[in-house]
């Protein structure tokens, strides 16, 4: 029996009682519920399609713990919340915060991995050091962090990244644009495969700085490890002092 007919039969000849309150639309009960419907790695568009306009629901979802399973969804939600908010969005911590952010501001109390990944605009401030893959594939906007792990600003093509402390290996790997400033020291292979953009390191840099770089500028105000500019095909590397086996094309700071 169809539900409509069942209802008609059930109410036949009775004075209808009171109606319980019920909200219209497709409800989202929790982040897990959203994740069950979207899978673990949905696109931004898929998330936006299901997400109601109701700010309360969005706030609740952003405040919930995504666990390991729904981090990408949470990342998208954090960006959507920041874009919809007039004020900076304060979040405690989380991987993928500010994923594909296009406007607005996020202030993160603690860092996580993949913060600001694929961001196109807006700002992200981290009060503590970020994890790995900070600002990976970002094309615009700005990130300021106390420090960073490995692969910070990997394949960046635009925007500004400022690391106020030290960062790990592979800073600016495959960069094709944008500016990165590291106010501390960085690990090995900074600027590896870089083709454009600018990398400024105020402290020391590890071995293989600018390995296989094709373009762009790297400036190091401290000491550089061995084999700087190894097999570089273009671009410029400047440093205060270079370790052994530095390439011929590197320059000292005037």
């Amino acid at each position: 029996m169809k539900l409509g007919r069942f209802m008609d039969d059930a109410y036949r000849g009775l004075n209808k009682g009171r109606s319980l309150r019920s909200e219209k639309g497709d409800p989202i009960f929790s982040l897990d519920d959203l994740g069950e419907r979207l899978g673990t790695r949905p696109s931004r568009m898929e998330v936006e399609e299901l997400l109601p306009q109701d700010p309360g629901t969005l706030k609740r979802l952003v405040e919930s713990d995504p666990g390991n399973r729904y981090q990408v969804i949470w990342g998208h939600l954090s960006s959507i919340a920041a874009e919809r908010s007039q004020q900076p969005l304060h979040l405690s911590a989380g991987n993928y915060a500010g994923l594909e952010l296009s406007r607005g501001t996020i202030i993160l109390e603690m860092g996580g991995d993949h913060v600001g990944e694929r961001m196109k605009g807006g700002r992200i401030y981290l009060r503590q050091a970020a994890g790995d893959y900070l600002g990976q594939e970002m094309t615009g906007g700005g990130i300021v962090s106390r420090g960073a792990g490995n692969y910070a600003f990997r394949r960046m093509s635009g925007g500004l990244g400022v690391i106020k402390g030290d960062c790990g290996n592979f800073l600016g790997l495959g960069c094709s644009g944008g500016k990165v400033v590291c106010q501390g020291s960085c690990g090995e292979r900074a600027g590896w495969l870089m083709s454009s953009g600018s990398l400024r390191i105020h402290g020391d840099a590890g071995d293989y700085l600018g390995l296989l770089m094709k373009g762009g500028r790297i400036t190091v105000f401290g000491r550089v490890g061995r084999r700087a500019g190894w097999r570089m095909k273009g671009g410029t590397i400047r440093g205060k002092a270079f370790g052994p086996e530095a390439a011929d094309g590197v320059f000292g700071l005037d």
């Binding site: 059930a10 009775l14 004075n15 009682g17 009171r18 319980l20 019920s22 409800p27 009960f29 069950e36």
Partner: protein, 515 residues
């Protein structure tokens, strides 16, 4: 109890819900403490409940009726809710979970099943009573009376789960139940904020509810059987579950355990096979029958000309003018009833077939064999089965589908020794039978048994489904090709469709013996 006239109360309750087809409660034995049991509905009324009078009983009957006709109503709905509850409780639903027998449920699993069972019942309590509450003022009065009694049992000793549900219903229904300041109440309100009428939301609501309430210590709520009509009518064993189609055997067993049912491999295969369709397309006959007269023209063959009729109308035969022929028309006739060939299934269950997990060779082969047997059985054929590995299980010619399925479902998991002599004996028992042999052809004793298999293929029609063509031996392949029809299966999914196709052809009115 007699003074309450419970039969009259039951009659009134059914009338109120427009006479649903539910059996009347059967009064069981009276308990020592004066309690009453309705055995078929598995409910017991204690003295305190009886003292509340017929109104309490009416509420109870209304509650039962709505559960049986609205939520969960059927075993299928209950199964969907059970799966949702298991998911919500964080039950691992990975595709690699293996089959666990009913006696192999671990303690953790058993406790999760118990929890999921409770969640399904609590969900159906909330949905059906919310529905009743909205129905009329009188229903509201009855519903609130029932739940108030739970709150009044002893407000302090209620377990957290019961307290949270009562606290939620207080907010949801605006009723005067004991309040509960826990955050779970707010979560539950959010889950049910969309109402209870959208059935498509029920699994998600049940899942979320289980996620929230799963951690709480259980109390009175959620006990008792799941109220599905098939369970009440005693036909739960025979009902196919659509939701089982995507489950692994272990998950299927757990979902049924939540509903208080025993799920085994045989039922798992059977439920899946119900959803494979074999079309019965009998070959239609057509017959030519004479109809009226038509003009005979020069382009028509001479023998068509009806001279006597033409001359009876005119003394001169002028072609196309006074020449006539008899016209004919072709019309379809009822198909001739062909003899139904009996079916012998020879199934490989050696270790290389990988065992009864979803997507394995064993799974697809057994499922195809089940379907072929069901179809042949429905067409009136007798069945026989051999399930072989190093040893073999055998079901001789019978009309008992269960006996054949019992043989097919076993997984022997040793080496591959085909029992050629037994196949020949069975084939000779029903000359002209269809022999479906499903194997991955890693047969180690093929040449020893060759003569018997060859003779069996001459007695009946031998169709071989070879699952593992990548490892096929050229000599074995050449030998087998002389037996009859051979299908090499590259994609496991093809196996089912090919077996279905062969069954369709064999039982769909075509005479396969002479084809």
């Amino acid at each position: 109890m007699e003074s309450l006239g419970w039969i009259e109360v039951w009659r009134r309750s059914r009338e109120s819900w427009h006479w649903p087809l539910l059996p009347p409660p059967v009064l069981g034995e009276k308990g020592r403490s004066g309690s009453f049991a309705f055995s078929n509905y598995q409910i017991t009324l204690d003295q305190k409940a009886l003292q509340l009078g017929p109104l309490y009983l009416e509420n109870l009957f209304h509650h039962l009726i709505v559960q049986y006709i609205f939520c969960p109503r059927s075993l299928e709905n209950a199964g969907i809710l059970a799966l949702a509850a298991l998911k919500g409780l964080g039950h691992p639903s990975g595709s690699n979970s293996t089959y666990v027998s009913a006696y192999g449920l671990t303690l953790g699993m058993a406790s999760q099943i118990e929890s999921a069972h409770r969640m399904v019942n609590i969900f159906s309590d909330i949905v059906s009573d919310s529905f009743r509450l909205e129905r009329s003022e009188r229903d509201e009065e009855l519903v609130l009376m029932g739940w108030r009694r739970l709150g009044e049992l002893d407000g302090r000793s209620l377990n957290p789960l019961d307290r949270v549900v009562l606290g939620f219903l207080r907010e949801f229904w605006g009723a005067s139940f004991p309040s509960c300041p826990r955050p779970e109440v707010e979560h539950l309100l959010r889950i049910f904020s969309a109402g209870i009428r959208d059935k498509s939301l029920w699994p998600r609501q049940c899942q979320e509810m289980a996620r929230i309430l799963g951690a709480l210590e259980p109390g009175i709520l959620g006990q008792g059987p799941v109220r599905a009509q098939e369970i009440l009518n005693g036909s739960a064993d025979a009902v196919p579950l659509l939701c089982a189609a995507n489950l692994d055997a272990g998950e299927y067993e757990e979902a049924l355990a939540v509903l208080g049912q025993k799920g085994d491999l045989k039922r798992w295969y059977r439920d899946q096979s119900y959803f494979i369709e074999i079309r019965e397309v009998p070959r239609a006959r057509s017959e030519v029958t004479p109809s009226g007269f038509a003009k005979w023209r020069l382009t028509d063959p001479c023998y068509d000309l009806d001279v006597s009729y033409s001359l009876s109308l005119s003394p001169h035969l002028i072609p196309g003018v006074s020449t006539y022929k008899r016209d004919h028309e072709t019309s379809p006739m009822m198909p001739e009833r062909a003899g139904v060939p009996d079916l012998l299934v020879v199934l490989d269950s050696s270790r290389s077939m990988e065992g009864p997990r979803k997507g394995t060779k064993t799974h697809k082969a057994t499922l195809a064999a089940f379907k072929a047997c069901q179809f042949a059985h429905s067409m009136g054929a007798e069945l026989a089965a051999i399930n072989f590995s190093e040893n073999y299980r055998l079901a001789s010619w019978t009309r008992d589908l269960n006996a054949v399925e019992d043989v097919l479902v076993e997984f022997l998991a040793t080496r591959t020794h085909i029992p050629g002599k037994r196949i020949l004996e069975l084939a000779q028992g029903r000359p002209g039978c269809l022999i479906l042999c499903i194997t991955d052809t890693h047969i180690q004793n093929l040449y020893q048994e060759w003569e018997d298999i060859k003779r069996a293929s001459e007695v009946g029609r031998f169709v071989l489904f070879s699952i593992d063509p990548d490892y096929r031996d050229r000599h074995v392949e050449e030998s087998l090709s002389s037996l009859g029809q051979i299908y090499y299966i590259r994609q496991l999914d093809d196996l089912i469709s090919l077996v279905v196709e062969v069954s369709e052809r064999a039982y769909g009115g075509e005479s396969f013996i002479f084809s």
